[in-house]
């Protein structure tokens, strides 16, 4: 589980709100989606297509593909590579992406 470091000089920073499975979460502008979700206490971002086991972001730099999520209705998005924006809608990805999405 992660949290945010309490920092003295960051009060001027802009906050954005994202919608995680219908729930409002706040994030710092400039966060990657994966960082914002981890900071909000998310433990798993998807389940695997093979065994259905839960997975979480692992490398945070775009090489492990563990943080695949459904972003704005588009599946298989690497959450560590996408910056958050206000109103961004995100869901966990369960198993393999489906063909109709």
């Amino acid at each position: 589980m992660f949290t945010r470091l309490l920092l003295p000089e960051t009060s001027g920073e802009k906050q954005v709100t994202l919608i995680f499975e219908g729930r409002k979460l706040s994030a710092r502008e400039g966060d990657s989606l994966a960082a914002a979700l981890l900071a909000n206490g998310l433990t798993a971002c998807r389940t695997t297509p093979v065994s259905g086991s839960p997975r979480a972001p692992y490398c945070m730099m775009g090489v492990c593909f563990e943080c695949l999520m459904d972003v704005e209705g588009i599946p298989n998005v690497q959450a560590c590579q996408v910056p958050v924006h206000d109103g961004m809608k995100v869901r966990r990805q369960q198993g393999a992406r489906s063909l109709d999405s």
């Binding site: 400039g30 433990t43 490398c59 492990c64």
Partner: protein
């Protein structure tokens, strides 16, 4: 398609330095980078980090600012947030930014795709709560995000020690640092120390980190010989054994950060079909390069850690050399010109000095076989959930190489395209079949190198019309 003179992939120290050098000689390079801001992983978020106290991340991090400022000065066509899903030997580049696909053609290409952390397959490494030290450092630098409860750091290498010190400076509690470097490695590295002394500055910084750790009083366990991550749906505890003891020790924690060095990210050079040599000192594949860092493929060069691990300062120097090489090959400058020759000599001399510390560090922190060849029950291919035992079984059935292993087990065929298991699978096969890594080989990689939908691809062909 009008060709661009120079396209550089990656905006870390090597890519930025290459672009700045080329721009100095009248070239307007295109720099394509996946991250939203420049700096690569080492200088990640250097323009925007919320960690403003310069002591926390350290002066080496803030050194990246000058490269980033030069990259932004307007003479370079910098394209952030853009992934490359194809690069052909004819230097045609397919890129994707958001939903928009574009095809570029380049007369000269410099690959500066950097390093990634070496896979660290231990039992339980796929559990949520287990991440890499590098990923935790990215969270710290880019968002000020830190582990909530006392964290366990495990493995070896400079980055692990650096992260521990950065956490201590930031006031992040560390439950334990478990080091997998064995006693014997200090002795093995010793013959390389005299050469390493040529780069005294780097050695001194390293010793400073070790000293800072010691003075902090953080629990530092050495000679760890076995390591497990345990939990049901996420990490609950870490257990370990030390050399010479059969006793298992345990710590309850929800965060384990693993690290055992970095290796070149060779995804691009592999997809191009470049020849790679196995470097037995760095235990990694290096693309074959000439004196100007050019691969087997005409006008495609590799600079920085993606050609072999040399660190940030040396990567910037290789970037300068590659930029100079590009300007010569493109005819912007003449290498018989005395000023160009003296610039080349100067860069090569600095590079030689900077990298003199490498053999010492490589040997000191070289992960032992047990950390690279996991026990049978351990998952090696995270995407397809293939275990080490399955790879050994198919080797016993006669499977010689990793490409055949794909058809037997699907290892390396998931979304990461073998990035996380390629080294491990080849090393297990090489060990099981008692054949060299060169004979064993590596996965054949094909585009798309990054996820792209059919819809996006279709738009690319529309754009061409």
């Amino acid at each position: 398609m009008t060709p661009h003179d120079l396209v550089i992939l990656g905006a870390g120290p090597a890519g930025m330095a290459a672009a700045i050098t080329a721009a100095k000689y009248g070239i307007r390079p295109v720099v394509i980078d996946e991250q939203p801001t420049p700096g690569g992983q080492i200088y990640r978020s250097v323009e925007s980090t919320p960690i403003l106290d310069p002591k926390v991340l350290g002066e080496d991090y803030w050194d990246g600012k000058s490269l980033v400022e030069a990259l932004r000065d307007g003479t370079i066509d910098y394209r952030p947030g853009t992934s490359v899903w194809q690069l052909t030997p004819q230097r045609k580049i397919g890129s994707l930014q958001g939903d928009s696909v574009s095809m570029l053609h380049a007369r000269y290409v410099i690959l500066a795709t950097g390093a990634m952390e070496r896979p660290f397959p231990i039992p339980g490494w796929t559990l949520p709560g287990v991440m890499t030290a590098g990923s935790a450092q990215i969270l710290l630098k880019s968002s000020g995000v830190i582990p909530e409860s006392p964290v366990v750091l495990a493995g070896s290498g400079p980055l692990l020690l650096l992260l521990a010190v950065q956490y201590l400076r930031a006031g992040v509690p560390i439950a334990a640092l478990l080091e997998t470097t064995s006693r014997g490695q200090y002795r093995q590295a010793l013959p390389w120390l005299p050469k390493a002394l040529r780069n005294l500055a780097t050695l001194t910084k390293g010793l400073g980190l070790i000293n800072e750790l010691r003075q902090s009083g953080v629990r530092h366990v050495r000679n760890v010989s076995a390591l497990h991550a345990e939990g049901d749906s996420s990490l609950n505890r870490v257990s370990w054994q030390c050399e010479g003891s059969r006793e298992w020790q345990q710590l309850e924690t929800s965060n384990l950060l693993l690290h055992q060095g970095v290796v070149p990210n060779t995804q691009m050079t592999r997809a191009l079909g470049c020849h790679h040599n196995w470097d037995s000192r760095q235990l990694a594949w290096h693309p074959r390069r000439d004196d100007w860092l050019v691969t087997d493929i005409e006008n495609i060069a590799v600079a920085g850690d993606s050609g072999g691990i040399i660190g940030a300062a040396a990567s910037a120097l290789e970037g300068r050399l590659a930029g100079l090489g590009a300007a010569i090959a493109l005819g912007n400058i003449n290498n018989s010109d005395a000023s160009i020759r003296s610039e080349e000599k100067k860069v090569r001399r600095q590079l030689d000095k900077e990298t003199s510390v490498r053999p010492f560090l490589d040997i000191l922190y070289r992960p032992a076989a047990k950390w690279r060849l996991p026990i049978n029950d351990t998952i090696v291919c995270r995407c397809e959930e293939v275990r080490a035992g399955e790879i050994r079984e198919i080797a016993a059935m006669g499977c010689q190489g990793p490409n055949q292993a794909k058809s037997f087990t699907r290892c390396g065929m998931g979304p990461c395209q073998g990035r996380m298991c390629g080294l491990t699978v080849s090393e297990i096969l090489s060990d099981a079949n008692q054949q060299s890594m060169e004979e064993t080989g590596y996965y054949r990689l094909r585009p798309p190198l990054k996820p792209i939908t059919l819809g996006q691809l279709a738009k690319a062909s529309e754009n061409k019309k």
